[in-house]
Symmetry: C2
C-alpha cells in the first residue's frame, strides 16, 4: 500500500501541522517588539505547560545542553551528588556530574527496572548537594517514582532535586511545585510536538540561590544570564526563532485541548498518552508478548522481542512494510526489545493502526501463527472502557 | 483522545504534505520562464497520470466547469446526446446538456445501481452526437462499466464518449486511448491529493474536430483557446499558480510510487485504492452491514445504514468521537447511507483505523452488541492475502 511516514519513536515525535505552518511562515527579526511579544508569551505559557509558578527558561539546544546546565549551574568541583540511574539517560547524569568534577554517589539498577525508595534513602547523606534522576527513562520505557523520591529529598535539608522530564513532561502527571522539584527539564521534540532544537527548564528559588554559590564554569548555559534577559523579553543569545513560532502554535493547540485552559490541556495531553499506552500494552499482551519495563511509563511501551528473535527484524519489518518507525533497544538492549512511543500527537487511528501493523509484522517475522485482530480487539476494549469512564486507574499509575 | 482532522470524504481528500509545502512556498509570477517550465512539465506529466497520448488541459475551475466545457465545446443547440445517469452526478450531465439546448436521451437507473450494456445499446441512435457518463458515481459509490460502454459507442459511428472520471481517475484502471474515450475529465481534489481548484481533461482528435463544428457558446471553457495557449507553455487566463506547484509535487510523489515511472505510479495509486476498498468492504460486511452499491467502486464504499437508523447519526458520531469526516448520502439518499472514501492519500494505518472507529461508532449509536476487532480482523485478512499475492481479482473488478 501507499506508505506515509509514520513516526512512533520517542524522539523525534510526530509534528503538529499548525506548528509546522507557523515555523515555515516565521520571518521576523529576533530583536523586535513582535518577537519579544512572542517570546514573553511563550515563556509565560511554558509555566502552565510545565505546571510551575517558577520561571521557565527556553534555550536553543538539545535536552542534554540544559541537563549540563543543571549540573554546571548548581555544583562546584568536589560537591557530593547522587545520581539515580537505570538506563542510558541515567548514565548521562553520571557522566555529566563526573565531567564537572563532582563526587558522584550512584543508585544503579538494571535496564528495565527502577529503584526502590529504600535504595534512594540509603544513599542520601547530609552532604548530598543534589539528586539527579529521570521522570521517564526513554531507553527502557520505565517510569520512576518522582513523587516518592521528591519526598525523601525534601526531607534531606538543602539537597536539590533535578528531574530530567524530557520524555516525562506531557506524558506524566507531575506536580512540580507541590512535590518540590527544584529543576525540571524538557525538550521541544517530545510532547510539545515540534522539532528538536529547544530545551527548557523550570527552576525553584532554592536552585536560583544555589547558583550564586556554585563554582563550576558555565557560559552559554548560565541560567542566571538567561533569566536576566528573559525578564526583558529577550534571550541571552540568538534564539531559534522559527522553533519559538512553532512552540507558540503548539501551546495554542494544547490550550485548545483544554478548552482554553493550558493547564487543563497539559492534563488532557497526558491522559491521551496514558490511554494510548494502556491500549498498546493490552494489545501487546494479547499477542503473547511481554512488556520490558517493570513500571511502564505512558510515554512509550518497550516490548521484549520473542525468544530467539532479534528485535531489529521487527523494527525493519515495520519500516519496510508500513514506513512506520519504531525504536530498537539502545546500548546493551539493542536487538532485545522494540519501543512504540505515545508522546504527543497520536490519536485513536494511530494507536489502533500501529497495533494492526504489529500483528502483520509478527506474522511475517515469526513462525507462530498470529490471530489477526487480537491486539486491536484488546486495545478497543480498553478504549471502550475509558469512554465509559471506567479507567481512572490508568491515570493513577504514572 | 486527542483529535486529528481525519478526512474520509470523496471530496476533498487528504492533502499530500509535499504538495502543501510546494503550494505554500510558491511565489513566482505566472508569465515567467520559471512558471512556463512548471506549466509545461505538469501538462506533460498529466498525460501519464491520465494515461493518454492526447493533449491534457488543466483549467482553474471545479470539475463541473470542465464538464460544462465538454458540453459547450462539443454540441450545438438541438444536438441529440445520450446521458447515462444513476446518481447526482449523472443528473448533472443531464442538466448541463439541457442548459445548452441539447435534445437529451437518458438511461436512468435508481441510485446505487448501474445500467446494463443492453440498456445503453437500445438508446444509442445514428444521430447520437455524444454519450455522457461517470466512471464512478461518487454519490453512490457505484462503478460504471466504461470499457463496455466505450465498445458500444465506438461501434456507433462518430458518436463521442465523454467520461466524468473526477472520482474515477487514480482509483480505477482506465485505458483511455485503448477503449476510445474522447473526453476524460478529472479534478485536483481527488486522487491527486491536492485542494480543489483545478479541473483537467484529456481530449481525442475526434473531439478536437467536433469542436470546429460545435455552435454552442463558450469563452472561459473554450478548449481550443486553452490548447493554443498551452502549446506556448501558457494558460489562456490567469492560472491558479500555487495549485500548479502543488500538482507538480503530487505528480512527483506519484512518480516515486512507480519507482520513477509516472504511469506505474498511477497504477500503484489505483491498486492502493482497490486494496483499501477491498479491506473496507470486508470489514463492513463482517460487522453485518450491507454495501449500498451493486458494483462498488474502489473510490469509496457506500454503506447502507442499519434498518431504522439515520445514517446522519453515524456521520455525527464519527465526527464527534474521532474528528473523522465520512460522508452522508446525497439528495434522496441522505440519512440512508454513509460513505468512506479511499481516494488518494490513504495507507494501511488509515484504513484499519477508520474501521476500528466504525466498530466504536456502531457500538455507540446502535443497541446491538458489537464484537470489537471483527471488522479489523476481516480487513487484516484481506491485506495479508494481498501481500501474499492472492488478490489479483481485486484489480480486475474495477
Amino acid at each position: 500500500m501507499l506508505l506515509k511516514n509514520r513516526l512512533f519513536t520517542p524522539v523525534p515525535t510526530p509534528l503538529l501541522p499548525a506548528a509546522q505552518n507557523a515555523m515555515a511562515a516565521f520571518t521576523a527579526h529576533h530583536r523586535t517588539a513582535d518577537f519579544k511579544a512572542l517570546y514573553t508569551r511563550v515563556l509565560a505559557d511554558m509555566k502552565d505547560f510545565v505546571g510551575t509558578a517558577n520561571d521557565v527558561l527556553v534555550i536553543a539546544s538539545s535536552g542534554t545542553g540544559v541537563m549540563e546546565g543543571a549540573v554546571s549551574n548548581l555544583t562546584s568541583p568536589g560537591d557530593r551528588v547522587l545520581v539515580l540511574t537505570a538506563g542510558k539517560f541515567g548514565e548521562r547524569w553520571r557522566d555529566l556530574a563526573k565531567a564537572y568534577g563532582c563526587s558522584v554517589d550512584v543508585v544503579e539498577k538494571p535496564y528495565g527496572e527502577t529503584f526502590s525508595l529504600d535504595e534512594v534513602r540509603s544513599k542520601l547523606t547530609p552532604e548530598t548537594k543534589a539528586v539527579y534522576v529521570q521522570a521517564t527513562e526513554s531507553s527502557t520505557g520505565v517510569s520512576h517514582d518522582v513523587q516518592g523520591i521528591a519526598k525523601l529529598v525534601r526531607a534531606n535539608g538543602d539537597t536539590l532535586l533535578v528531574v530530567d522530564a524530557i520524555t516525562g513532561l506531557g506524558t506524566t502527571h507531575l506536580d512540580v511545585d507541590g512535590w518540590g522539584i527544584d529543576v525540571i527539564i524538557g525538550g521541544s521534540q517530545k510532547a510539545l510536538m515540534i522539532p528538536p532544537g529547544l530545551a527548557y527548564c523550570g527552576i525553584s528559588d532554592r536552585a536560583w540561590k544555589r547558583m550564586e554559590m556554585a563554582k563550576n564554569p558555565r557560559y552559554y548555559f548560565d541560567f542566571r544570564k538567561e533569566r536576566k534577559a528573559a525578564a526583558k523579553g529577550e534571550s541571552a543569545f540568538t534564539p531559534a526563532t522559527s522553533l519559538f513560532a512553532a512552540l507558540g502554535a503548539a501551546l495554542d493547540f494544547i490550550r485548545q485541548m483544554g478548552s482554553g485552559d493550558l493547564a487543563a490541556g497539559r492534563k488532557a495531553l497526558v491522559d491521551n498518552a496514558e490511554l494510548a499506552a494502556e491500549m498498546t500494552r493490552a494489545g501487546v499482551k494479547a499477542l503473547g508478548l511481554k512488556l520490558y519495563a517493570s513500571s511502564p511509563s505512558a510515554a512509550l511501551t518497550a516490548v521484549t522481542a520473542p525468544a530467539g528473535l532479534d528485535s531489529g527484524k521487527i523494527v525493519k519489518e515495520f519500516r519496510e512494510s508500513f514506513s512506520a518507525v519504531v525504536a530498537n533497544g539502545q546500548g546493551d538492549m539493542k536487538g532485545k526489545l522494540f519501543r512504540i512511543a505515545h508522546i504527543g500527537y497520536y490519536d485513536f487511528l494511530d494507536t489502533i493502526g500501529i497495533l494492526a501493523a504489529l500483528e502483520h509484522v509478527l506474522a511475517t517475522v515469526t513462525d507462530k501463527p498470529v490471530e489477526y485482530g487480537v491486539a486491536v480487539r484488546a486495545a478497543q476494549e480498553v478504549f471502550a472502557r475509558a469512554r465509559r469512564g471506567e479507567l481512572e486507574a490508568v491515570g493513577a499509575r504514572n
